[in-house]
Amino acid sequence: MNPESLPTWLNPEPWLDLEFTAADIERAIGADTPNEKTMAALLSPLAAEYLEPMAQRAQAITRRHFGRTISLYTPLYLSNFCNGGCLYCGIAGDRRAKRAVLDEAQLRHEMEAIKSMHLEELVLLTGERMPEADVPYLKECIEICAEYIHNVNIEVFPMSEPEYRELAEAGCTGVTLYQETYDQVVYEKMHRWGDKRDYFSRLNAPDRALKGGLRTVGIGALLGLADPKFDILCVYRHAKYLLKNYWQAGVSISFPRIKPQLGGFQADFPVDEKMLAQYIFALRICLPETPLVLSTREPQRVRDGMAGLGISKMSVASKTTVGGYSDDSEESTEQFEISDERNIPDFCKMLRSKGLEPVFKNWDSTYREPASYEKV
């Protein structure tokens, strides 16, 4: 396999090896109508020297479009049963992980704990498709969660359009699904067995989700697996493709970065904080209206600094173990290590000290019904 076989809407090849001058970078930072070339310029090594002006511009754009606010959400692990072969994952099938799945009573406990923290947006997570956590199970979980809070999303295995529709009808608003890496050679190496080996099935899952009636899709690359410039350019092109083809879709981008975890996986292309910041600023400048998301994988210092600087949405008080919020279930292995362990009041205090308003509820269950792209 090679990148040539990527669909034209995704293939970043034409922009990968462009050379840029200082003037190009300056023009890109101020671009009125950014495009692939702008993005490539902002990702170039030379642009790394322009981090401060990029940050200034990213902040101005973020403030204009999202205001002085940060939307909050939290992840909820339903199950860590997984037979996946992801080389980098702490709960992959061959890891000696403590497995658990929430039953209804446990899920309700978790939801009561989450509700008591006033959170109104949730992402439900599982491993790969397993008998313990399949689509009917997810549907039940979504229905239960929707009783408690306004905005329920999923970050699970890819599924078919009818399956997505079933979940949309149960009250699911959106799906997060990272391609992990857009580099097919690395992708094949990283995903040793199972359904996830099908690169294109995963790539096209956001399309199926939107056709199935979900309103939002979150995409991203697990930074560190492959050349990050390649991956970020692909993320940019993927987002643009989705925006063009599903004009009602909300598309957001996250920036997961490989951190040490169970199994001791080392990134071949480590992304440091400055590189991460450069990618976030570049995407903010080139996609001014797209929510950019930063999770608690990142350390406190980076989260505090990036809030409002391109980033418009953040997870908070995250637990990555099954049953982590109510703490009444058996201890399970976490998928990745949380770096920012602050509770909600402390996190909100930090945001407010930076003149940013934490927004808990930015959606209403009144709008909870499948979207439609059908042309009459």
Partner: protein, 261 residues
């Protein structure tokens, strides 16, 4: 001089500046800006009503303000059905007869859907709302919405949050010329001078949010918009000098014409 009152349906407003309430750094900053702006009408998104957490709720603190009417809006709705449902819920919670009908199916540019807006307006007028639809600056759509009983029309100056000002000025002028209901420029304004321009042009009011919320000092910017809107309205009432492309010639071309044969 009698007070220059703006009537929207049966609602009387002493200020021609309407405020949006999102995007502020804190509820207090928003309340301060509302007060400084002298506005008598604010709009608040149903999705930002939060009955479960006072700290996150925009509606509660706004409802405490005297002399400020509340207009729930349907932001977040993708179609007519959702907007109608949101409007009903908003009225139930706020008891306000006013609704800002806002349907933007694309969550990125937030531009309004004229077709769904029209359909929702029909239903909401039937349900006795005072409907203020946020619309593209389309003179035909504006008349259609007036015909079915909307209390005002709110064409956009530019896309929400862009600060591109009165990009649609020529269309808005046509809307104003033809309208029998108040015309409110909603979205796109960046500066008090642009608000003044809108009022000078003959708009009945402007609705501002991002320009105030994203300013360095939102309360001060609220006050600046108050002054801009007042100046624009005064200028409109005073009657602007006509503009002219050509100088008046000292030797007129038509001096040879006589009125007696």
């Amino acid at each position: 001089m009698s007070k220059d009152i703006l009537k929207v349906g049966d609602q009387e407003l002493g200020s021609r500046l309407f405020l949006g309430t999102g995007k502020f750094s804190s509820t207090q900053a928003m309340i301060d800006a509302v007060k400084a702006s002298g506005t008598e009408l604010v709009t608040v998104a149903l999705r930002r009503f939060n009955r479960d957490q006072a700290e996150d709720d925009l509606y509660g603190p706004l409802s405490q303000l005297e002399n400020v009417k509340l207009m729930p809006n349907t932001s977040g709705a993708m179609n007519a059905k959702e907007a109608v449902r949101a409007a009903m819920l908003g009225r139930e919670l706020s008891k306000s007869p006013l609704v800002k009908l806002e349907i933007h199916p694309n969550p990125h540019h937030l531009l309004p859907d004229p077709i769904e807006t029209y359909e929702a307006a029909i239903e909401l007028v039937k349900q006795d709302f005072l409907v203020l639809p946020y619309i593209p600056a389309d003179p035909v759509l504006a008349k259609r919405l007036e015909d079915i009983g909307c209390a005002a029309v709110m064409p956009l100056g530019a896309a929400i949050g862009t600060g591109k000002g009165l990009s649609t000025a020529e269309m808005i002028k046509i809307i104003i010329r033809d309208a029998n209901v108040p015309v409110v420029v909603d979205a796109g304004l960046r500066s008090p001078s642009e608000a003044a321009c809108a009022l000078e042009m003959g708009c009945d009011a402007v609705l501002v949010n991002s320009a105030i919320a994203a300013a360095e000092d939102p309360a001060a910017m609220g006050a600046a918009f108050k002054t801009g809107v007042e100046a624009g309205r005064m200028a409109y009432n005073a009657g602007l000098m006509p503009t002219s492309e050509v100088a008046v010639a000292s030797s007129p071309l038509t001096s040879f014409l006589s009125s007696d044969d």
